[in-house]
């Protein structure tokens, strides 16, 4: 294995972007290259998945049903009460739908990063390091699971119900805010996935910490903020900015006040917040990748 580890060492010393090429246009090229590679790897996994169509249909359905059970729990709650934290079912459905759709999109695109710890542990990450393809693109596209569309579909259906049934005074701004919120929300969750993967370089067995922010985060956002203690709401607004995924914009759409006092324009803050999260996650990822020491196996 001497040859292999030497190659890994070389890949190590050379950062993803050589310093003298660290110019905006070069960065753009790299991003395009990464996205193209991601697309190629994902397409390969999609082809292999679709080779067994019946099996794919079943796992897609399974993913749909599994996530539908989350909402079933909420429906069961509403079989006993008319409102939760002062919110009626259609309003909770809107919160659920926006959180689940944004998370579903992030899970579809970045969900595979959850498995990074295993690759670090068993040494198969080294294979990815020697390829001339950005490591993040490889890790994220690894075993690209098209069945996760089941989650997105389920979220979108509940969102559709919430939008149709909740009493919303629609304005052009609110219509525009909806897709902006979903895309930014997906970006925030993607950043959490990447930051979690970076953490797994350090703590290889800690995939569950990532789960608590991703799955836990979306569970939290499915309920109205009035349900939770103010300190918890502050925490997910100012520390881990999950509130920007849906609470802040969705409450603006619903015409509801946010329990922690903030000016109304923060409803439009999700895009810059998402960008900042992605930048921070990127920094964490690079630092983690640079500090990586192979198991040598």
């Amino acid at each position: 294995m001497a040859e292999g580890s030497a190659a890994v060492g070389a890949a190590h010393r050379a950062p993803a972007v050589p310093p003298h090429l660290d110019r905006p246009e070069r960065r753009r090229d790299l991003l395009a290259h990464g996205l193209r590679c991601y697309g190629l790897i994902a397409a390969m996994w999609i082809r292999s998945t679709l080779a067994y169509r019946a099996s794919f249909a079943m796992t897609l359905f399974g993913s749909f049903v599994a996530t539908a059970f989350d909402f079933a729990a909420i429906l069961l709650m509403f079989s006993q009460v008319d409102s939760l934290g002062g919110y009626a079912l259609p309003e909770v459905a809107l919160l659920y739908g926006t959180a689940a759709t944004a998370f579903g999109l992030a899970d579809l695109v970045m969900g595979s990063t959850e498995r990074l710890g295993r690759r670090v542990r068993d040494g198969t990450l080294d294979v990815l390091l020697v390829r001339p393809v950005p490591v993040l693109a490889q890790v994220a596209a690894d075993r690209f699971a098209l069945r996760r569309l089941g989650r997105v579909t389920q979220g979108a259906l509940v969102l559709g119900y919430g939008l149709a049934a909740a009493p919303i005074a629609w304005t052009p701004q609110k219509v525009l805010l909806l897709p902006v919120m979903l895309v930014s929300g997906a970006a925030v969750f993607s950043a959490v996935f990447v930051a979690g993967a970076a953490f797994q370089f350090v703590a290889q067995d800690a995939a569950e910490v990532q789960n608590s922010l991703t799955y836990g985060g979306t569970t939290l956002l499915q309920y109205p903020p009035t349900v939770f203690a103010k300190d918890l709401v502050r925490g997910v607004t100012f520390i881990v900015p999950l509130a920007f995924v849906n609470w802040l914009p969705a409450l603006y759409i619903l015409g509801r006040p946010y329990p922690v006092h903030l000016p109304q324009w923060v409803a439009w803050a999700p895009p810059p917040v998402a960008l900042a999260c992605c930048a921070l996650a990127g920094v964490a990822w690079r630092a983690a990748l640079r500090s990586y020491r192979s198991t040598g196996s």
């Binding site: 059970f69 709650m77 939760l84 067995d205 569950e208």
Partner: protein, 269 residues
Amino acid sequence: MRSGRLYALVALNGFRRHATYRTATAAGIFTNTVFGVILAYTYLALWHQRPHLGGYDQGQALTYVWLGQGLLMVMATMGGGFEDELTERIRTGDIAIDLYRPADLQVWWFAGDTGRAAFHLVGRGVLPMAVGSLLFDLALPADPVRWLAFLLAVALGTAVSFGIRFLVALSAFWLLDGAGVTQMAWLAGMFFSGMLLPLNVFPGTLGEVARALPWSALIQVPADVFLGERTGRALLGAYAFQAGWALVLLAAGRLLQSTATRRVVVQGG
């Protein structure tokens, strides 16, 4: 009792094996705690609207949340037990080696899974519960007898859980790819164990059916014992329910095992 000693060692090994994953255990405790906090607030909102929903007061409802988080891994409600490994051994044919061992397949895996469950009860049950009791007003029983009664209900619950998962794993003999069945079992476990919401909050017939299915032995019944909802004759009834399902499932497992074993011989591995 040489075989008794053997299975005790297998169980001890199951305990030790899971005890080696320290970071994973710490990460799991963190996750259970985060989910516990989120769920506890949603339950608070629910019980604020409907005090005494499902026969629980607020403290009992909050305790139920943390019991669910503490028992999640013990009962392998969402998978994570031996079944993936056994399915894989059946798929690859390594199971033939297991069958030649001078040990019974079902008892062997049961012993190992018992060790795993015991570790998770200590490793992932105690700490979230402690954090939960610091953050919320929980209804913890003062009577040590009730703690013992609870432990017995947990033990019977793990037997039912094993019974279900052993059947799921053996289905790989016929289906080769056990992923579909595993997923269905996992979904049923999530929904019918009372993990999402106590089963006595489920409305009407759905509630009655859910409470009669074996999965209710995993979380709902031990929780009710802990919360003092089952005492005296009702406690014996709860044990009978769990033991009954455990026997039925384990017997079905034995039957399936002997049928499957003959299949292996016919196919030659």
